[in-house]
Subunit: 237 residues, 6 copies
Amino acid sequence: MRPSKRAVDEMRRVTIERGVLRHAEGSCRIRFGDTEVLCAATLEERVPPWLRGQARGWVTAEYGMLPRATHDRMRREASAGKQSGRTLEIQRLIGRSLRTVVDLEKLGERQITVDCDVIQADGGTRTASITGAWVALHDCIEWMRARSMLSASPLVDQVSAISCGIYDGAPVLDLDYDEDSTADTDANFVLTGSGGIVEIQATAERTPFDRETFDAMLELARAGCSKLFDLQKLAIS
Amino acid sequence: MRPSKRAVDEMRRVTIERGVLRHAEGSCRIRFGDTEVLCAATLEERVPPWLRGQARGWVTAEYGMLPRATHDRMRREASAGKQSGRTLEIQRLIGRSLRTVVDLEKLGERQITVDCDVIQADGGTRTASITGAWVALHDCIEWMRARSMLSASPLVDQVSAISCGIYDGAPVLDLDYDEDSTADTDANFVLTGSGGIVEIQATAERTPFDRETFDAMLELARAGCSKLFDLQKLAIS
Amino acid sequence: MRPSKRAVDEMRRVTIERGVLRHAEGSCRIRFGDTEVLCAATLEERVPPWLRGQARGWVTAEYGMLPRATHDRMRREASAGKQSGRTLEIQRLIGRSLRTVVDLEKLGERQITVDCDVIQADGGTRTASITGAWVALHDCIEWMRARSMLSASPLVDQVSAISCGIYDGAPVLDLDYDEDSTADTDANFVLTGSGGIVEIQATAERTPFDRETFDAMLELARAGCSKLFDLQKLAIS
Amino acid sequence: MRPSKRAVDEMRRVTIERGVLRHAEGSCRIRFGDTEVLCAATLEERVPPWLRGQARGWVTAEYGMLPRATHDRMRREASAGKQSGRTLEIQRLIGRSLRTVVDLEKLGERQITVDCDVIQADGGTRTASITGAWVALHDCIEWMRARSMLSASPLVDQVSAISCGIYDGAPVLDLDYDEDSTADTDANFVLTGSGGIVEIQATAERTPFDRETFDAMLELARAGCSKLFDLQKLAIS
Amino acid sequence: MRPSKRAVDEMRRVTIERGVLRHAEGSCRIRFGDTEVLCAATLEERVPPWLRGQARGWVTAEYGMLPRATHDRMRREASAGKQSGRTLEIQRLIGRSLRTVVDLEKLGERQITVDCDVIQADGGTRTASITGAWVALHDCIEWMRARSMLSASPLVDQVSAISCGIYDGAPVLDLDYDEDSTADTDANFVLTGSGGIVEIQATAERTPFDRETFDAMLELARAGCSKLFDLQKLAIS
Amino acid sequence: MRPSKRAVDEMRRVTIERGVLRHAEGSCRIRFGDTEVLCAATLEERVPPWLRGQARGWVTAEYGMLPRATHDRMRREASAGKQSGRTLEIQRLIGRSLRTVVDLEKLGERQITVDCDVIQADGGTRTASITGAWVALHDCIEWMRARSMLSASPLVDQVSAISCGIYDGAPVLDLDYDEDSTADTDANFVLTGSGGIVEIQATAERTPFDRETFDAMLELARAGCSKLFDLQKLAIS
């Protein structure tokens, strides 16, 4: 029995609330149990310097955590004067994941930045961020379409993410913080709506894992993302 | 007629929702119209180095804004590598205001940090932060009392804050962003429940103001804070 | 009796020495008792990026303190790698105060920066800085007029500043460092030659103050600034 | 045919030269074709603050690249004032990988830092770093054993790493820079000598990949790491 | 004829004014023509961490320049967020020069920091700083002796510095800014009262110089420093 | 007898290996005994902003040290967030030295940056860097000439550098780390092939030195650089 009393293949309750910010071109609040992330998409009519004049756009992401999102207060990164390696790693992952489902030529010379800010953390903040960021990105693109800024949608697929781990030797889906702290392995899977794999990050914390365990986690993740795709569709409908 | 159609002495609708974060010892979400601030109090059993061994505690605050809290996206301070002068100025003001209503000897050698993070900005974020921070601080102290950590409450009074401005020559209460942008003067008043003045910051943007106008703003602020004290009491009851 | 033996409405001896720097377009050394600030105005034929092409100029200020201006040596901000919140707050105040008395359209697309560097500190460095900065600014504008760079003077008024506090329950004018350390309240007033209020910053350090005390401080400040305006006029004549 | 003319399962020539630095407790120069990394292990008789008093040691890594290791000169991170997200990500990966094969209790309260500095880059610098870092770590531990500082070796296994990619639809082993630039997917595998998986990082650059392709890459990586383990053994013998 | 109309071996008028700061344990204002430096010595009853427990003291220096000390305003280093290479180089030179004439054992476990802040720059700021710093250091040590903190003076000699250059092929003494800008070579000499050489920094800006020229500059410097030693003695008498 | 058993005028064995990096336009590995520096020249078709449009080029240098180049590991400057004063001082010296032997007009509007990275340190890293940097610079210029980018060579002379010190009262050539640590004086000489002096930096660590000793060091340096010029010629032939 895992600490959360959930079955090995049971995700936490996931909710997605759209349009939660007045200023952003697209936004949502996504919750995986007690984990809560605010995702806000911003459209800008400019691209990074290295992309200028190439008739292509860019999609990027930034990630942050409120100081008291966690059990113990963490030092504010703005006050520390730099973003941690963990923060940089996560925001690069979110940006890469989103770009895989966007046709940057169709977007035109524009940049969409999706800010993912963790209001409360209970494990799985990066996977919740990716899943919610897609909804904010979708709404930003719809906002542009409503203003006839795009002839065709640059959004080619859905993308979502879920974590798996090994608890007491058994692969389990969607770790919360307590489970993550005791789990042997932390694996994050980013998948597309059409079944493709966008990113796999699987890390043994102490004990290396074997191929069978990895395969089992990948299957759990597939089933989990399938549910997330349904929830995304429901949210945007 | 002011842009918001409000009467000169009419505040926006203010709501305070307590206990919104699972980890923080005290927390609330405060809204002044479309301005929304999340306040979280953290208790730590240590004081800053310069206060060690003096049998006194410390109360401090930090302030931040999500990048898309504003109409145009602002650069994330963690990414810029430093907090702006405006941020530092505001968080110093919040901390000072809270300390005026706390008996630091009674708190003992502990520090309470109140994080005020602006989720959405529409003017008056510093005054909303002070007003909400008091509720989070109150609940943190109640949390300590419930655990018998304090023999007597170190909270000696309420504190709240409200802004005033001069619109079209007339003093008005509680400016929203549109009003603030066009107002001639920006004045912030921090007052205590027992009627004392904790801080006045009144700034002429272009045209200096006169004594009578200032006096009228102070009276508006008194009436406004009086309502805020009632709302704080309601929230903690 | 206040520590300095001065009467409650008695300012320290203030002296202003003009033209103390060879390179600056305007400069002065201002002393309030043992507080000494060097003010240097620099003219540049460019404006900040956000103001370009608007046919308006800009006036700004920077503030610094020599490491041994104070009783105990303070760490050099250049070595610490950043300016403190206090420094940023003060230089923003000086810049705002100066802009209130300048017609930025008449200045044309140019920037004047006034550097206020504290050579020795004994309380009231920000008010001395504002009062001296106005003289340096005035001389910089005269330097431009002598070179026919301006058809009409953009300087529309004088501006000066003075501090007040509450010592032993009584409002007193122009606190020195010892008085400031023991005073209950620190209030800074920035006023114009024609009697307008530019900025009020009044802060209760421990005990909130009441309306009557505040009014008394404002009156002391009016009388004090009146003398400072005379001294400025004397200095530039 | 891949650009390098190598067969899909053919690694570049790998060489490992031990003891290349006079001061380091363990060191090697590892080459994967034109990629060259200098690995240096440093022993310190102290652990990070958060680990003090727990009778356990720590193994960590740092990664850097000489400015002209690459085709175009890259800005020196020391001059830029911060390490890039990529650098932080890689050095965290190296450290994690090494810790999986070290019994930190047996190491005692000491820290081993392995510096991996890229002298020349032609793809696969992170996998070469991990593979070489293990040799430097091994020699550092032997250095300690030769001085009777350890009763038993804390090194429990070998660890090495190799990259795979998808070139023209086919999974290929050990991408060089030209191949990496044109490949659709970049996958890094960190494996142990006893066959366990320590880390998988697989990233679709543009097009998501499917399960079969991933499985094929994993098999290529297993065969590649098997050869790397032989080379490590040869190097330390 | 050199631009300043001075003879090749003619220094600018040098003045040293002692005791110019109220708080510092030793201070002076030194002028070499239009170059003006404020030197302030601070005594602290602690040494840097790496020197603790060795029964020896430390003497160090910091150097800064007010933004408008120069013809064009320079960016404030505190605002730039770091000290320039030139600043660091100069302050290291001043500290080294002072330490050569101090017996650090006799000083005891204390640190003296001499701040050299350039109020106005017209060439030769580093040599003026060294020459003035010695006076501030001397007075700081006298301050300690007056308080019976030292049994014997740790000051073993005088130290001063002067620059030379090559103007129109001829070695000249004590370059001002205009001369320095057009000179081929910039040489700084730090000498002791008893005739020893503490530091030589001679740099060809464009054309290498020969041995004879160097020797001539060294002789000019000897004569110049001889006068500076007299001026130091006069100042402290 | 000096610690290294070398005669007072005996340099360590110096070797220069050219063309050691695949990407750089010029490169070499230079060794002075156990000191090893990698020098890499990079050509860029742009000049620093302040030099634009003047039909002149620029030559500059950067210096770094691998963390374990030294006996004890040094903190990585990229991780510390800034380059030390020592690093900045050395890289400024290398750049100045190289520019003295380059005709910047003939170079055209281009910049050559020479990176000098210390792989292993045993004293004399700055002098080895200058000597090796000249070879890398030479090869970069040859690379340009081979591509007909230059009508005439902008390289007007050779430049090399060597250190001297005073050991046990006697001037000695080319100090290694152990000698440098115990020597009284550290003197670095940068000379040109045609006999000119480019830079002299002579520093008394504790005891001032006299003129005769300085002259003897200069003679030792002349003889040493003479050998280095031969080795440079041999390397590029």
